[in-house]
Subunit: 454 residues, 3 copies
Amino acid sequence: MGTMQTTRLRFASLLVVAIAILGGATQALAEEIKITSMEGFQSMPLVYPKFMIDNLWILISAAFVFIMHLGFATLESGLTRQKNTVNILFKNVFIVSVGIITYALTGFNTMYPDPGDFNGYLAILGPIGFGGDEVANLTANYADYTYWSDFIFQAMFAATAATIVSGAVAERVKLTGFMIYATILVAFLYPIAGSWKWGGGWLDAMGFYDFAGSSIVHAFGGFSALACVLVLGPRRGKYVDGQVRPILGHSMPLATIGVFLLWLGWFGFNGGSVLSADPTLVSLVFVTTSLAAAAGALASIFTSMIYLKKPDVSMALNGILAGLVGITAGADSVTWVGAILIGLVAGCIVVFAIVIIDRIQIDDPVGAISVHGVCGLWGTIAVGIFSTNPEHSVGTQIVGTLSYALFAFVASMILASVVKATIGLRVSAEEEEEGLDMGEHGQPAYADFQHINN
Amino acid sequence: MGTMQTTRLRFASLLVVAIAILGGATQALAEEIKITSMEGFQSMPLVYPKFMIDNLWILISAAFVFIMHLGFATLESGLTRQKNTVNILFKNVFIVSVGIITYALTGFNTMYPDPGDFNGYLAILGPIGFGGDEVANLTANYADYTYWSDFIFQAMFAATAATIVSGAVAERVKLTGFMIYATILVAFLYPIAGSWKWGGGWLDAMGFYDFAGSSIVHAFGGFSALACVLVLGPRRGKYVDGQVRPILGHSMPLATIGVFLLWLGWFGFNGGSVLSADPTLVSLVFVTTSLAAAAGALASIFTSMIYLKKPDVSMALNGILAGLVGITAGADSVTWVGAILIGLVAGCIVVFAIVIIDRIQIDDPVGAISVHGVCGLWGTIAVGIFSTNPEHSVGTQIVGTLSYALFAFVASMILASVVKATIGLRVSAEEEEEGLDMGEHGQPAYADFQHINN
Amino acid sequence: MGTMQTTRLRFASLLVVAIAILGGATQALAEEIKITSMEGFQSMPLVYPKFMIDNLWILISAAFVFIMHLGFATLESGLTRQKNTVNILFKNVFIVSVGIITYALTGFNTMYPDPGDFNGYLAILGPIGFGGDEVANLTANYADYTYWSDFIFQAMFAATAATIVSGAVAERVKLTGFMIYATILVAFLYPIAGSWKWGGGWLDAMGFYDFAGSSIVHAFGGFSALACVLVLGPRRGKYVDGQVRPILGHSMPLATIGVFLLWLGWFGFNGGSVLSADPTLVSLVFVTTSLAAAAGALASIFTSMIYLKKPDVSMALNGILAGLVGITAGADSVTWVGAILIGLVAGCIVVFAIVIIDRIQIDDPVGAISVHGVCGLWGTIAVGIFSTNPEHSVGTQIVGTLSYALFAFVASMILASVVKATIGLRVSAEEEEEGLDMGEHGQPAYADFQHINN
């Protein structure tokens, strides 16, 4: 045996020992050690880099989700008339801001209560309480990132629900009324419902699965929107003598910018919901998310070409969103083929849902009820059909998603009705004709352009 | 010798041993071990964090490249007339969607064939086949990321080629014809040509170098566009009695948004092409990419100020793109001075190329042939001139880039001609006058604004 | 004692030894070893992953800061008239490009001089000199990332100062004059002043603290803008017979896109200024940045509702920016409650500052002096009030921020005056009426739309 081979053997033994030690060490750390200070943590060089990466990915994901708010702002204003543009932009600025602040003041602790609280309710009104910069038990829910990262990622989610409503009630909702409605929705209703699953509440205990929020965020937002629209009524001139009059959006480029930014943001919405930078899962989620979005677009393009005769760009855009909402509940637990099928079905559903909801004279200017509500239901149920995890069942998924839809619908109905009865939920007919930009804000969106009156 | 010093010495010995073991371990892992399951991988704590980072960077890069599709959509619609805006937006939604789906169904395996396939051709029509969530040989092509990450990153690239054509044929191409053209281009032609270099084919064997695709993506797209434009002919009224009539773009803000988003996306396009988060290379690529873009802008600004008398913002924007396309082939292998020089030359070239191509009555509304085709050639050849790697040669670079340009031109010419002869490639003269938005889609882009007829 | 327990005990001993060794190793590396080559570095598997993550985060942050330039371009053009849109877009393309190139040629070495230089001045005109791809002393200023990463991150910052001026002087500044003004500002004045703190100069030695540049970037830009506006004078028709005539911005969607992109970019601006991916600090910075922005928006919304009677969307947008500028100096050293308070105050300040500055007939079309100048002062001083670090004092903060404001004001005043006296700083009255787009560029921003003459 030559010297080199001996050295190799010796090195190999050392290597085996080293890997055993280190492998064991990580394993042990992951299972047994509760870390409460950064200093203790940083002294563990094997765990620290993974923690850094996971934490950074949650933060980058929060930034991606943040940009979805610009996506909603541009999509909603693009699909409505120019005379209501300032109002929509203003509402979106307000919602994201009030959403983040109220999530710090009450939402975060309501949604993710300490184990001692009763299903989250006792945590209501508690501000970010438990040391935002600490790292909790490395094996518990908050493993792999700081509480601050968890907070900001979830805060960016929270405002989304209210934003979904914003689009559906556009062009006739009264600003102050909507501001109060949205604040209560995001500060109390969304985190209470969210705690049922993500806070370890009763739906979590039942085995309900909603990876990134097809139900918790989207169906919640969509069915809140449906109730609010029913309380509010349709726009003037939309339904005349039983006829549906189309009201065209004022800027398709704005709408397109919105949908592409939403797709971009969804990489953080779904990708960050892995709650770590786990290579297998995050990679899979990027692929399923993209395939479902693309399949949704193609399905709604061909559906609208065949069914509506013309390839409508707003239908293509809603097809992307339908695919994205559809994949959100199961992005980490379906195959790539499953993702395409979920997207295809969502893209078909959304076209018919938009047409039907319009026919029964529920006036949703941007299609939010169809995209977020109907496709949110579909996506949640689809987990029961396509998931590779045998523990996911269609029955439980239906119970869970209907719980969210029903709670959102009833709570939003009560809230909107109270606002309507007190400070008012709708602008005057004159203001609606003139546009909310001048009526509510005294400010045109496009001062230098000649407009056609719509 | 005091106790403390003794302890220090002992500690130092331990340290040396530990570093030796761990250094050796990583080295050994990197060179010798083929990992096929995640579980095996995660038990190797020294390699796992690097794998996590590399994989995450590929995914984030994929998101950056994705946003380039919004960049193209807004750039192309900004540089054309408002009456064709919906059509351009629709085409871009379709291309990115069909690009991702076909890349999963056929493109990925065609472009990156298994070694057993004959130069990729036998892999045609094979869907993502080889276990997307696995990590292959840590030292082979797919080291450092999952197949899923590789797939989604490359899928975002694939649709780019067809998007480049989309801009050049804008304002007169028939929607259904273009949809078929673009689908075949992205599903078959691009991945076949791509496999010559990135799939380890004959150009790779020759020593041809194209880091992130000055030829493989941009020259391919640019020369496909040239052929398609020749088959299609110029827009009505563009060349009358031998005179060139300028047709102004309808929104410079949209065009500017497009170019800034493209620059942003290029950080992923070039930065992700390192195929790891290697600090030296990714840092260098960010610097060379930015310096070339900035130099391209300055060169085209001053060229257009001197040569065209007026500082044209669309020339400045095309200068940025010219610099970006130019640096793409060698972003990892030129110095920062080389990057500036490549950008400066590209920024000059693009101004003259746009003017000349217009004079010889090839109608390219957005300058895609100049930006992607001509500057793609330049960038690829520039590797032979400026590369710090002595193995790169001007001769090989010329052979490689001309191969891509020629293949793209011929294949696109045949494809466009077949489409033209069968279902048609061009809208009617009446529809062209009215605009494709109403003709193809029955939908105006800006319903609330008074337009000037152009 | 059973076998399993024995094994556990033995394993535990091994574990303790391993952690001790590795913990010690990292510690030792961090404190003692100067690494000058990549090869040496890569052989240290415990340090390398952290270095990879830190470096990647700086690069991703640079990409985020880059997109702020699109944010400024769209915000500034949205808040001004359509006839000057091309001019604003062009200036922004020029500034980011010339900023990056001059930062490579002179700025970087001026701002971060070698210790041997006299406070940076001797480094003026030195190009990126010290091996851009090397990693310096792991414990010194440049630890955790390559010089290339440091360069590109700082280069993206540098152009910001000139961009701030661009908005304030919009709609009447002469293009060539401004190009020279901006080039000198970004190439020389900004890096000289920046070196006082970030280059380890006299303000750093004094204990002045400015985490990410409330003073170094924003107050510098804001007070440069104030001087330039004073030299330039107000727009024609803005102040007639002592009356203030409002001049409306031409596109609120563009302005909104701008502010959301700025907020997004600020995650890199502040988050990247941690100069590592340190989980505690980066997480905290994301939270404080978001809370301050949200609080700024709410404060200016309610201030403008009460004080101006109408909820103005441009005030809401400026409230976001005010909060962001305000938190920038102390984003890593205040609590979440402090961040909300800083944002609330900034959001109130900005409304009154804009109104007052307009009343005293200083014409700042976009509110840049108020947002960046006044709130930059506030944010810097706020560190002295809210910082959890007892070493930060209000007195030192006042000295530091006034030094930046004063230097910027005086230097900009001289520079603008020299430009005015030589090649001219202002367009003719006729050109101003017609708009700079046709006058300076011969190109309308919106060729297909009918405009109202403003």
